[in-house]
Amino acid sequence: MKFTFAPDTRPLEGITIKRAIHRGGFGEVYYAVTDAGKEVALKLLHNNLEVELRGVSQCLNLKHPNLVTIFDIRQDAERDHWIVMEYVGGQSLHDALQQHADGMPLQQVLNWLTGMTAGLSFLHDRGLVHRDLKPANIFSDGGVVKVGDVGLSKFISESRRSAQTQSVGTVYYMAPEVARGRYGREVDVYSLGIMLYEMMTGRVPFEGESAGEILMKHLTAEPDLRLLPTPLRAVLAAALEKDPERRIHDVETLQQRFREAVAATGLPLQQPAVFHSLQSDELFPGSPQAVRPQAVAGAAAAAVGAGMAAAAAATVNTAPAAAGTAAPQAAMARETGFAFGSLRQFWNEDLPAPVRWMLTGAFLLAGLRSGLLTSPVAQGLAIGWLAWWMFGRRGKSQPSTDSGNVQQNRGFKYDWQYGTESQSADSRNPQSAAAGRRLDSTLIVPQQLSAVATATGTAGARPQQAAQPRPVAQRQSRPTELTPDTVRTFTFSQRLLNATTSMSLALLTAVFVTAAVFLGTEILRTPVEAVYFGTATLLAAWPLLLISKLWEGRRGESLLRRFGLGVCGLGVGALCGVVAEFLLLINSPVPSGIFLVDSEGLLGNREAAGLRVLQGGYPTIMGFSLFFCLLFMLRRWWLQADNFRAARFRIGTSILTLIVGGMVALIVPFPTALGSTLALAVSVVLQVSSVWTPPELRDR
């Protein structure tokens, strides 16, 4: 690390530089001693532009034990500005976090929180907002927490030149509205929330390979709160609320609610509150003995002389007019969020598995039988939802699912969004220039965010500084969950065994599902129709199983896979059509009612490429082929059969498949009741019968 000034130089009269401390976002920081022997920190602001120092001067006379004191602002012979400030000798929060990679003991979290809250609260009380809170800016000197770099972030927004020097480290803690140029004190609440999350879990909630990706997650992704004990989730959710109006409004409230939640957990304060396991949900409620003993701490860390900061101020320019109404709104949002969370928790954790399965079956049958799922209202809802699912989710790359596990599939949507497979991004060069481009091309991002993102992206060319948060590559080295995305190696015989086991099970499952549909609904009226239904289900499920087991654990382009499945669907459809003809269900004097198509569909009965999809109200073989082709293409079936899928059976996945089946039937056209039920049956058979490894038994 190179610094401009050598030890033992005197850039300012009466002050001798002794050593460099670090290079931060705004310039170099030196440890220096005055002629009388006073220790100070000198921060060199690298710009000779018309820097706005009004904000810095605003902070000159602020006195609070939890804020790094600014003594003076001086200019050297080169007309560079120096901030002379209190030297803080202790550890920074950034250093402390590195000692506790799996989360800090709760008592330490509370100590940091108390100091930060006091300092920030003082600042907010004087109408100032920090806006650049991050662990590298927080210090603990002899047990006293001190917040540094007060107000310096002003330079980010006001001078493009200075924005270039901003590092990616800052982005992890930046509130979403900062991108829109909005700076209320909620910005600090958000950053504090991020730091609390990091102190608890050892990682920031939004990680990414580039500044642009992280910013995007701040704007759109929901934080994964499942690592936290249940009582703390609601607090962190309220602190990390995207909309500043709905966020917790001041740091005091955040501290108070956090303390109450910690007390509610009943966890011992000497330990971190986080158990890094997939089963954290099961472990937490009321089982403190399951908490892992405190990770090895106290490894002698390099006693890094801490850097510090100070300077410009940012006035609160957004005193929310609707403050009175906003608070109850936030509370209400919290309540509903909590209710949904507890319902989900009840379903996932409290219900015994057999009951859950039986209820699932009952719901499905009731839905099918009542015709609710195939009614026009349901279809309308489904069309809207499907449209959102396909087009409206841009930017939300990691949909969290209902099973309690995060899906990490870099599938079609993700590739589409970023135009590249994210895993292949070069982790050694995390802030690729592509970051800015990605953002520019995304319509929902305001211009200002693009500017910030481009700037931060450019800053990536600089070497990572010691005082910045850990490099991205290191952050991602933490143990991650094994998902269908995990690349695994199978021998051919293993694949064969998996496939044959699953296919034999599929036979049995298909019989059960068919029986359920035959006995439980009015869709299938005769035994022949039931036989046909079972056969068609198997004809579709078997190839899907075979192909899925072939692709399992391999890296593959989602789009190509969908195309392959589509081709396979053409064949499956033709076979199903032939079977239907063979069973005299279509093209016979007395065709079966289940094949009667009541609408002309979106395609209508046009003779596409000279082939009719509909003949006399019944689908032709071509119709069958087209239906299965689209059905196979529109779902990522291989994920339903992967042995690393999140749960053995997920009702949401099957219902989505049912809806997709209904949609396709409307498009092709194909009988909707039969089409959606078939899609549902294939999904159920696929999920239930394919081999599945529980998360705790997974390895590569």
């Binding site: 033992d8 002794k18 401390i21 022997g37 220790e39 002899g142 006693a303 002389g305 010691a466």
Partner: protein, 220 residues
């Protein structure tokens, strides 16, 4: 030696004549500052307004002559002159210090004694209780023959981010430095056997440190 990377030959240079000063400050950019003592007998005590007597004067409620650190062969001992404890146990006579021993002086001052490297008898004192000399230090180094500065945790001065280590060692009356990294002095390659007793700023790839002679205290 602890070093891992290249096969470059070790370069050595005298940087401080030991005759000039028996202690020096080691200012390491981005890491911290240590006071290094090249003596076998050191006095620790309270700082005084005039006529400083202690080698390590702390701003703390102690006697001016509170205890002495003694080195005999490759072992360090604490000789208490006032109330002292080692490892939580009050001591009155000369006590052997082990790696990791916690030393308590008076009621309040706590220090950690470390011998980080098995290759050297040099020791390090870390301040646990926040009591410091007037200029705050990252720690005090009690140098026997060698000091290791480098990226490894068993170096006396652990410098994360340094590509390789630097060894400071004493030979006869001189303090020498060697490293496999190319070190420069005032932007020129480090000359051999250079007397740099007025202080030296050494730079290498991604690192810079300064040796500053300290005051010599003969009041013991």
């Amino acid at each position: 030696m602890a070093s891992v990377c290249s096969n470059r030959p070790w370069q050595e240079t005298a940087i401080v004549s030991a005759g000039q000063s028996d202690n020096f400050f080691l200012w390491v950019d981005a890491i911290g500052v240590w006071q290094v003592f090249c003596r076998e007998d050191l006095l620790i005590g309270a700082a005084a307004a005039t006529d400083e007597v202690a080698d390590i004067p702390l701003l703390a409620p102690l006697s001016r002559r509170h205890a002495r650190f003694l080195r005999q062969d490759d072992s360090w001992f604490l000789l208490p002159l006032q109330s002292c404890a080692v490892g939580g146990r009050a001591v009155t006579g000369q006590t052997l210090l082990r790696n990791g021993s916690e030393i308590q002086l008076g009621d309040r001052v706590r220090l950690r004694f470390r011998i980080p490297s098995v290759l050297s008898a040099s020791a390090r004192l870390d301040f646990l209780s926040g009591h410091q000399p007037r200029l705050s230090l990252s720690g005090v180094l009690l140098m026997a023959d060698t000091l290791l500065l480098g990226p490894r945790p068993d170096n006396h001065v652990c410098c994360p981010g340094w590509p390789d280590s630097v060894v400071l060692y004493r030979r006869q009356q001189q303090l020498l430095c060697r490293s496999r990294m190319p070190l420069t002095l005032a932007d020129a390659p480090l000359p051999d056997q250079q007397d740099l007793s007025q202080g030296a700023i050494l730079s290498g790839p991604e690192l810079r440190f300064r040796l500053e002679p300290g005051r010599t205290n003969s009041a013991v």
